[in-house]
């Protein structure tokens, strides 16, 4: 044993109040924090089953908002691609003359919010329809071409948004010889309205889930405090301050949050991978190549940091509610 190294004078002489130098105290505070961060982590695994269950519950609860976030982000990505009136179709009057059509094309070419105007004659349209529909023989029996001449108007980039295209459509409707203006923006607006409602619902669910995380961690820490009541009393009896005693519990809460956040990230990753093949098949039906973009590094960092902070706050609530009230008996 290190018996020969023991300085027996430590306890000899008159009693004194122990003093630690200022720098020694500052250094030891950091040392204590460092030790308590890791000892609180070790402490979690003294009850591995309960800890794993708690972390999994937190992970599942946190993964739902993060999956919603990924889905929302991807929906935004898709709808932002569609949120463009890339083409406006002007169906012209049946009896409009070629000369009048040319005048109209020239006039539209002067519009500052129109990039190009392409004329598809009624004859051309019918030929295309015959080719695409496969009813060419049947269409040959028609007495006259039922299709009108069409002008395909492509707005400039700035006028492709919802407001710009609406303004342009209003102007085009006023043009002489234009029978019908068709722009496929209405369904996008409806989709956006639905997405907006879905986002509100998701935010409400996410808030409830985050609240549940707060309650789960808070309750777990409360149970830890109550289980260690006798130990806390001893600490207080030998002169420990509340901040010294509460630190391991605060760190434990933060650990729960951090580990729950990591589990949430992994679950989100797995779910996104699982959804990927289905989405690719679905988008393939529309001849669109689309990959769900998973969480990026920044989002992962935000998720884990927020979860850690949430765990810390939940623990703080419990500590303030229960620990400070424990007094030695």
């Amino acid at each position: 044993m290190a018996k020969q190294n023991i300085n027996k004078n430590v306890l000899s002489g008159s009693p004194r109040i122990t003093k630690v130098s200022f720098f020694g105290r500052v250094a030891s505070v950091f040392q204590q924090h460092f030790q308590q961060v890791f000892s609180s982590f070790t402490e979690l695994w003294k009850t591995p089953f309960a800890t794993v269950m708690t972390i999994l519950v937190l992970g599942v609860a946190l993964s739902l908002p993060s999956v919603f976030q990924v889905l929302y982000k991807n929906t935004e990505r898709v709808s932002s691609q569609w949120d463009k009136a890339s083409e406006i179709s002007l169906f012209l009057n049946k009896n409009i003359s070629e000369q009048r059509i040319q005048v109209l094309i020239n006039k539209l070419g002067l519009y500052s919010d129109i990039e190009t105007v392409t004329h598809i004659s009624s004859h051309q349209a019918l030929e295309e329809f015959k080719e695409m529909s496969g009813f060419s023989k049947a269409l040959n029996y028609l007495d006259e071409n039922p299709l009108p001449d069409v002008l395909i108007v492509v707005p400039v980039e700035q006028a492709m948004n919802t407001a710009g295209s609406k303004l342009l459509v209003a102007k085009l409707k006023r043009e002489q010889g234009v029978d019908l203006v068709r722009v496929d923006i209405d369904w996008i607006e409806k989709l956006q309205a639905m997405v907006s409602v879905a986002v509100d619902i998701v935010i409400a669910i996410a808030l409830l889930l985050l609240l549940s995380v707060l309650l789960i961690v808070s309750n777990t820490i409360r149970l830890n405090i109550l289980n260690q009541r006798a130990e806390i009393e001893v600490f207080k009896l030998v002169g420990a301050t509340n901040s010294f005693i509460q630190r391991p519990f605060l760190y434990a809460g933060a650990w729960y949050g951090l580990l729950g956040g990591v589990i949430a990230w992994l679950l989100t990753f797995v779910l996104v991978q699982w959804l990927q093949s289905g989405v690719v098949s679905l988008m393939g039906l529309y001849e669109v190549q689309f990959q769900i973009s998973a969480m990026n590094l920044e989002e992962v960092f935000i998720l884990i940091t927020a979860a850690t902070f949430l765990g810390f706050i939940a623990s703080y609530i419990s500590v303030k509610q229960y620990l400070v009230k424990i007094e030695p008996k």
Binding site: I17, G239, T241
Partner: protein
């Protein structure tokens, strides 16, 4: 060291635990506190160790009036008091060394110094070599010694012991009291609450006797032979 001036403690329901108690324990003095169960011994110790506050009167500890001490100051004041309990109040999931070093850990000593001083304290109570045991594997007497080592490790000027020999056989009780005597010889003030009159009679120390919250005697109970 400890000054009680007309200290009363009245609990809810008008139960008078202490009634206008006056006494003064000087620095380096050792005394017994005795009385039947419910006489107010534990209340008196609880007042000194800041687990309770007096209803009326003034308590001065080490020159500080602790009657209306702020809650935030209590931990720092407790570091000047070594407390020993009948039920030892040890942390059973920690080693003897960790138990003994607890007050130093709280005060911010480094691990090396904590270990060094803990071993010295354990040596003082005759438990060197058992530092890595958990208290659950020690006998009652040994657990009490661990409690004593923890109480003296930061050399407090005052040692309070509440029935320290309550669960021990007479031989072990005398050994523990001898330990208190040796600590007192170093200048530590020692106040021991016990209802073991036989034990008190064997020692030649001042004895404070409480009865129904009143201090009915303050002096030597009986001179020790020799």
């Amino acid at each position: 060291m400890i000054l009680f001036e007309e200290v009363s403690k009245i609990y809810a329901g008008d139960f008078v635990a202490l009634k206008e108690v006056d006494f003064h324990l000087k620095q380096g003095e050792m005394a017994f506190l005795t009385g039947h169960s419910g006489s107010g011994k534990s209340t008196l110790l609880r007042l000194i160790s800041l687990m309770e506050r007096p209803t009326t009167g003034r308590i001065v500890l080490n020159g500080n009036d602790i009657s209306n001490i702020k809650g935030n100051d209590i931990p720092y004041m407790r570091r000047h008091i070594g407390m020993i309990f009948q039920d030892h109040r040890l942390l059973m999931n920690r080693t003897v060394l960790e138990n003994v070093g607890l007050p130093l850990l709280i005060e911010g000593y480094n691990q090396y110094e904590i270990k060094r001083r803990s071993l010295v304290a354990l040596d003082k109570v005759g438990l060197l070599g058992k530092e890595d045991y958990e208290p659950i594997h020690l006998s009652g007497g040994e657990q009490q010694r661990v409690g004593i080592a923890r109480a003296i490790i930061n050399q407090p000027p005052l040692l309070l012991a509440d029935e320290p020999t309550g669960n021990l056989d007479p031989k072990l009780s005398l050994e523990i009291l001898s330990l208190f005597e040796s600590l007192n010889e170093f200048g530590m003030s020692v106040l021991i609450a016990t209802h073991d009159l036989g034990l008190i009679a064997k020692m030649r120390y001042r004895t404070l006797t409480l009865k129904e919250g009143l201090m009915i005697n303050d002096g030597l109970m009986r001179e020790r032979n020799g």
